[in-house]
C-alpha cells in the first residue's frame, strides 16, 4: 500500500507546472488535492515517474463573479466552494452536490478542478457542472483554450486534456433565482461512491417548464450524461407529478450502467429513474413557483 518511487516537484508558477508535465508526458501526473490520485498511487494503480504538485502554484484558486457568471479556480478546495456564499447563491446545485462528495476531511483537500480533471464516472462535481452548462479553462504548452464540459469528459477517467495541459478554472453561466435545482444520489454508505445520482436544473415560465431545464444522470459506466429523452418530456409541460413521472420513466434511456457487487446494471437503471423523479419533485419546490 505504498507507492512506487517517483520524483516530486512543487513549482510555483503555472508555466513551470505546464513545462514539467509536458516534459514528463505519460510518465508525469499532476497532484491537486490528492484525494483521488494518492489512493491510486498507494494502490500502485498508477506509477508515474514524476508527480507535479500544483499546491504551491499561485493564482489557481479563488471564486469570483462577474457579468459572465461565476468562475472557480481549479485549485479551490471543495469545502471552501461548498461554504462559499457566492457558490450557495449563484450555483446552489453545486453546493448541494459538494456536500455529498466523500467526507469533510476529503473536501478540505480535494479541489474543484481536480475532481473534474479526474473524471470519475460517478463523481458529483462533474455532474453538477454539466447540469450547470460549465465551460472549462485549460492551459498547456500551446497556450490557453476553453471547452464545454460535455466535450471535455471523454470516458471513465478520460478527458480532453493533452499531455502538459492543466484545467485552470471552471466557469458557470449566470444563475437565476427563479430556477429550481436538486442533486440527489444513492450510495450504500454515506460518503461512498454513488451507485446512481441525478442533477436537475428546472426553469418554469408562465406555468410551463422552459429552457434551461437539464437533467444529468450519474450511473453510466463511462461518464455522467444529459438525460435528453427525459428532458424532452418536460419542456413545454406543466411542472406536475405526472409530467415528472413521465420524464423519470425514460431517464435511463441510452445509459449503459455497469453491474458489479454493489448492484446490477438493472438496479442502477432503476435508481436513475427513481432518483430523477425525486430530483424533479424537489427542484419544483425551489426557485420561483411559476
Amino acid at each position: 500500500m505504498k507507492p512506487v518511487d517517483f520524483d516530486y516537484v512543487a513549482p510555483q508558477t503555472l508555466g513551470e507546472a505546464v513545462g514539467l508535465l509536458a516534459g514528463g508526458g505519460d510518465d508525469a501526473r499532476a497532484l491537486a488535492g490528492g484525494q483521488s490520485l494518492v489512493p491510486l498511487l498507494n494502490l500502485r494503480l498508477v506509477r508515474p515517474r514524476l508527480v507535479v504538485d500544483l499546491n504551491r502554484v499561485a493564482g489557481l484558486d479563488g471564486i469570483r463573479e462577474d457579468g459572465a457568471g461565476l468562475t472557480l479556480g481549479a485549485m479551490t478546495r471543495q469545502a471552501d466552494a461548498e461554504r462559499s456564499t457566492l457558490v450557495r447563491t449563484r450555483a446552489p446545485l453545486l453546493a448541494e452536490a459538494l456536500a455529498l462528495v466523500g467526507h469533510l476531511a476529503i473536501r478540505f483537500r480535494g479541489t474543484i478542478g481536480g475532481t473534474v480533471a479526474h473524471a470519475d464516472p460517478v463523481a458529483e462535481v462533474p455532474a453538477a457542472a454539466l447540469a450547470l452548462d460549465a465551460t472549462l479553462d485549460v492551459t498547456g504548452p500551446r497556450g490557453r483554450r476553453t471547452i464545454a464540459i460535455d466535450d471535455f469528459l471523454r470516458g471513465p477517467l478520460m478527458t480532453d486534456l493533452a499531455p502538459g495541459e492543466l484545467l485552470t478554472a471552471v466557469r458557470l453561466p449566470p444563475w437565476s433565482p427563479a430556477w429550481g435545482w436538486a442533486f440527489v444520489e444513492f450510495a450504500r454508505r454515506h460518503g461512498d461512491f454513488a451507485l446512481a445520482g441525478v442533477a436537475v436544473v428546472l426553469a418554469v415560465v408562465d406555468g410551463r417548464i422552459a429552457e434551461p431545464t437539464r437533467i444529468v444522470v450519474i450511473g453510466d459506466a463511462a461518464r455522467c450524461r444529459r438525460a435528453r429523452a427525459a428532458e424532452r418530456r418536460l419542456v413545454g409541460e406543466r411542472p406536475e407529478p405526472k409530467t415528472f413521472a413521465a420524464a423519470a420513466a425514460v431517464a435511463d434511456e441510452g445509459l449503459d450502467p455497469p453491474g458489479d457487487i454493489h448492484g446490477s446494471a438493472a438496479y442502477r437503471a432503476h435508481l436513475v429513474r427513481t432518483l430523477t423523479g425525486r430530483a424533479l419533485e424537489i427542484a419544483a419546490t425551489r426557485g420561483a413557483r411559476g
Binding site: 518511487d5 516530486y8 490528492g34 494518492v38 489512493p39 498507494n42 476531511a105 454515506h190
Partner: protein, 159 residues
C-alpha cells in the same frame, strides 16, 4: 530511486524536520520519522479516517498527503490535543462515556470531533453523525461515540 525532500512542519507546537523520499506519506512521516504513532494506518486510501490529523486547523487524511506537501504546515496530532494535564473536552467526553474500545479509530474520531465543536457549539445527533461519517469504528457501534461528543459539547460550553 526517487527524489528526497526536506520537510519542516510545526507539529503540536514544536518544529520538526525530516528528509524523506517523495513517496513517503505524511502518515508515515508522522509515525516513523517523528514517533507520533497516534495517527493510524487503517486503509491507506482515505476511506476509514484512522489517519486523520488537523492540518492548519482542518481535519485531513494523512494517508492521502505526501510528507513533502506538509512543508511549512501547522499540524495537531492526538498527542497535542490536551493542554498539559487537562484533557480536551472531547477526550474528557470519550472517557466519561466510554467512547472507545480498542482505540484504533479514536485519535481520528477525537480530532474530527474537536473540529466539529470548534465550528458548531451544540451539534445535534444528526450533525455529529454526519461529521463523523468518515471515521469508521469496528468496535463500538458508534452509540457511545455520539454520546461522548454530546457530552464533550456540554463540557466545552461549561469551560
Amino acid at each position: 530511486m526517487g527524489s528526497r525532500h526536506a520537510v519542516s512542519a510545526t507539529v503540536n507546537g514544536v518544529e520538526r524536520t525530516a528528509t524523506v523520499p517523495a513517496r513517503t506519506s505524511l502518515l508515515d512521516c508522522l509515525r516513523q520519522e517523528w514517533g507520533l504513532t497516534g495517527c493510524h494506518a487503517g486503509c491507506e486510501h482515505g476511506a476509514c479516517g484512522a489517519c486523520t490529523v488537523l492540518l492548519d486547523g482542518r481535519p485531513v487524511r494523512t494517508c492521502l498527503m505526501l510528507a513533502a506537501q506538509a512543508d511549512g504546515a501547522r499540524i495537531t496530532t492526538i498527542e497535542g490535543l490536551a493542554s498539559g494535564e487537562t484533557l480536551h473536552p472531547v477526550q474528557q467526553g470519550f472517557w466519561e462515556c466510554h467512547g472507545l474500545q480498542c482505540g484504533f479509530c479514536t485519535p481520528g474520531m477525537v480530532l474530527t470531533a474537536s473540529h466539529l465543536l470548534e465550528e458548531t457549539r451544540d451539534p445535534s445527533e444528526t450533525e455529529i453523525r454526519e461529521a463523523l461519517a468518515g471515521n469508521l469504528c469496528m468496535c463500538t457501534g458508534y452509540e457511545n461515540i455520539v454520546r461522548a461528543v454530546r457530552r464533550a459539547a456540554e463540557i466545552a460550553r461549561a469551560r
